[in-house]
Amino acid sequence: MTTESATTMATDAVGDHAGHPLLELSGLHTQFATRDGMVQAVHGVDLTVPAGKTVCIVGESGCGKSVTARSVLGLVDHPGHVNAGHVWWNSPTLGHVDLAAMDPKGADIRHVRAQEIGMVFQEPIASLSPMYTVGAQLGEMLRLHQGMTKQQARERAVELLTRVGIPKAHTRVDAYPWQMSGGMCQRVMIAMALAGDPTLLIADEPTTALDVTIQARILDLFRELQDETGMSVLFITHDLGVVAEIADEVAVMYLGRVVEQGTVEEIFENPRHPYTRALMGSIPTLGHTRRSAGRLSTIRGTVPHGAHRPTGCSFHPRCDVAVAGLCEVTAPRTLDDGASLIECHRWDPEALGSEVELGLPTLRREATPTTAERAHAENVTSATGNNLTESAPLLEVREVSMRFPVRSGFLNRHRADVHALDGVSLSIRPGETLGLVGESGCGKTTLGRCIVRAEDPTEGQILYSGSDDAVDLAGLHGGDLRSHQREVRMIFQDPFSSLNPRMTLGQIIGEPLVTHRVATGSELQDRVAQMLRRVGLSPDYMDRYPHAFSGGQRQRVNIARALILEPKLVVADEAVSALDVSVRAQILNLLQDLQDELDLTYLFISHDLSVVQSVCDRVAVMYLGKVVEVADTQQVFDDPQHPYTEALLSAVPIADPARRGEGRRIRLSDDLPDPIDRPAGCFFHTRCRHAVAGLCDGAPPALVPTADVVDGQDDFGRHRTACLRHSELELTGIAGTQEADR
């Protein structure tokens, strides 16, 4: 096997490789052969990972982060390959070796993959084979690489699973990946990466597909493991909050190059590259509600395709401070002072003429609200104060339940129910944005689907008061339903799969007009063109197909399709979750503009609390099919009255490295209760740190108004919570922690 040849080589190699960093990429180029010619996905990356440190690579999708990570281990899939540069690896057994020069199918690189560099991927469930138990897959590696017997491998597998925090590891070892949650599978992947005691762990967006609560625990795990083993971590992410939580050093990538690199403190306190600054500006940070902050700043356009790399500085078409005649002509050189690195003409005294001042002014993080924004904020404030108190809610959900039957056994009999929604009551006032948050599986999407009647609720009423008297949407059928469906529309999550690839934009957006017999012929064309313009797309795109557009543009098409029938209520189901930060900011701004122009009411479903805080007037928190807390956004975030809300808030990573390790996080266990067999009493008591035996596992709590009353607030807007102990608990929101940095 590999190990033998490796160890013999090691004896004479070990001595002379001290002094080299653990991993050093130099001039790395990875290209892909495509129909448009060669695309240089990684275009000369220099990066070092020192021993025992965590280096984060950040950037939008399409910037070459993942390809860089995969290039290290020779895992770039055909038709891509590393075409230049070196990956110097300070191997404990092989000495100072260039991984890029190794045969990607050879024994040496396999030895490095098995024993020295572990890797964790973005989609944990898909990264495990569905055909074998996790124990079998983990055990296979141990048997092959460590020469263990079947029995030893199994015992070691249980140990490893326990070490990565999997409860009941001795039974979980026999579970199949698809029987486990995403968080559990990611722990298994980490256990597999740790099996060979690696000195470097490469993690490619390991928490992107997970809930915030799970993400927080996985990040903890990385930190703990690093403390225990002293291994280095190369962490790929697009989430600056995560970077602030775990990074020692940060490399910002744009179009295949590292454009800025430095310690995490430097990058966050004084970002120098315009791209880094733009990324920082476009994240909605906790603590800024829509009333206080207003518009998010955005980056113009999107990352260009690798085949159309702009001349000069590749960021110049999107850069606000580009110097005409310089940035689009010559590529900036790398300014490396040893500790930090930047590639920007604005910081290069030699390139910059005397008429432009060197450097950029210190970044101000607060955005100024636009006029429209202020107008809206005033609108809503006055609405909560007075105007809307009299106006009836636009939509009132009353005691809606949704159960999906589970069938099993010999005759496939109805055995149990999955309780997706359990007596949910909610109201949405005209003109407001109600946020719906909770972990995945809490029923928020099901509720949205019931409201647009894509799903028929098992029981309860959905009262909609559009132009005339309240109508129960839950009881409507046929033509009546169709006419109300014109007024309640949905924006879907995935911009890639929710558009039919065989229809042109014109057909996609115009389809509701046709099916509801609203417009035909040239009137239809006109309305589609007008709608395209409204969502910021050119009417010329009408005859083109969705594949020609980026994720952000497709989401604009999705929005156009939802709005073409001039609805009153729009259900936005994770409408920005699949988008990059900069594009997400553009879409959020668009949604706000459209709300002001068209008097829309939004039900905004999202798992991202910072987004919800920046766009919603009120927030409802769901857990296991029930609403556990509902109140004004400010109240929910500053003064949560349910321990679950508190835990959710504390799990959100904050984009400020100075605040790391304050121990403010409340950790929820990964084990969500089974929605078929739910706990007695308060559903949350199994994970709640404030639960009291004999009380919380007794009678289920009702959603009741809390004691605190805000001036001018009517009964409708009262802060409500479903916690039996809320009056005696002192729960922390983000207000206390936010003030620290003011």
Binding site: L75, R110, R113, S127, Y176, M192
Partner: protein, 330 residues
């Protein structure tokens, strides 16, 4: 697992009853019956039959009874006495006729299935792993040719080759000297010598189809994240391929059992005619042409039952091999 099989067996009962009714209805569908065909034949030969004889014949065979009575007589005899009725044309019990052809049909079917798998499996894997290589293009081209060339044409070509190159007398499953001889080692070798032509002819189309299916499935699986993950864990390419994606991609192979069985029993009619094989195909063709209803009914019924049994077999195998099927992944 036992619950699964038990439930599937229970589901089979109504399916089989329905199939038998449909099978019987189908052979009743063409206008007239065996007697009409017989009269027409006799008239063509210049003979005639008086009305009383015709009536007597109809009465004797129960052909004037209503549909459900005829069906019940037929099916109850099959189920309770194993009696498939009497073939008008051959003037022999249907059971006897089937007994002389079914074993050979089964033999041919299974050897063809094995042949198909033995060829399709390696070629499918090869052309998926080496996608767009010259070997892939060659295999793909041959596969398409295999689908496109009519089986009987291939049969004729192979017969010609067998005759001119190997000097082998063609047609049938046995040479003349063994045709009515008792079983011996010589007869067995003779059978093998004849079997390869129908096996290759019948196998090509199926092989070609399976190569395409396996290639497409394996290509999908090879792009799954777990393959990259397995590679990142330092496993060898060979082990990754054989243990991970192939295990998933092999599912359609098992599903083929369900439809390969009946297709081979009933689908080789033309080939069997050309090669004059003693299988059920030509028997069914003749029975249908002369409206020999009990013989035709029995064959259709057996083919249908084989379909159901084949599907059950492949489902059980699938559940055995794929935990997602067995444990019901959501």
């Amino acid at each position: 697992m036992l619950t699964f099989i038990g439930r599937r067996l229970l589901y089979m009962v109504p399916t089989l009853i329905l199939i038998s009714i449909v099978a019987f209805a189908i052979i009743q569908l063409p206008p007239g019956d065996y007697i009409t065909t017989m009269i027409a034949q006799m008239e063509a030969d210049g003979q005639s039959m008086d009305a009383a004889t015709i009536e007597a014949l109809r009465d004797r065979y129960g052909l004037d009874q209503p549909f459900y009575v005829q069906y019940w007589t037929w099916i109850s005899n099959i189920v309770f006495h194993g009696d498939f009725g009497h073939s008008f044309q051959w003037n022999r019990p249907v059971g006897y006729l089937l007994g002389s052809t079914l074993p050979f049909t089964m033999l041919l079917t299974f050897s063809t299935l094995l042949f198909t798998w033995a060829i399709a499996f390696p070629i499918g894997i090869f052309s998926a792993v080496k996608q767009y290589s010259i070997g892939d293009y060659v295999a793909t081209t041959i596969a398409f040719l295999g689908v496109a060339i009519p089986n009987f044409l291939l049969a004729l070509a192979l017969m010609y080759i067998a005759l001119t190159v190997f000097g082998q007398p063609v047609g049938g499953l046995f040479s003349d000297e063994y045709a009515s001889a008792p079983w011996s080692f010589g007869k067995f070798l003779d059978l093998l010598g004849h079997l390869w032509i129908p096996m290759v002819v019948l196998g090509t189309a199926g092989t070609a189809g399976l190569v395409r299916v396996l290639r497409a499935n394996l290509l999908d699986e090879l792009r799954k994240p777990y393959v990259v993950a397995a590679r990142a864990h330092g496993l060898t390419e060979r082990r990754i391929l054989l243990k991970y994606p192939l295990r998933v991609a092999v599912n359609p192979f098992l599903s083929t059992i369900g439809w390969v069985l009946p297709a081979l029993v009933s689908g080789e009619i033309i080939v069997s005619q050309v090669l004059s094989l003693p299988t059920t195909g030509p028997l069914l063709l003749r029975a249908l042409r002369s409206q020999d209803m009990y013989l035709a009914g029995a064959i259709i019924l057996i083919v249908s039952v084989l379909t159901v049994v084949g599907t059950l077999l492949s489902d059980i195998l699938l559940a055995r091999l794929d935990p997602r099927v067995r444990l019901g992944a959501r």
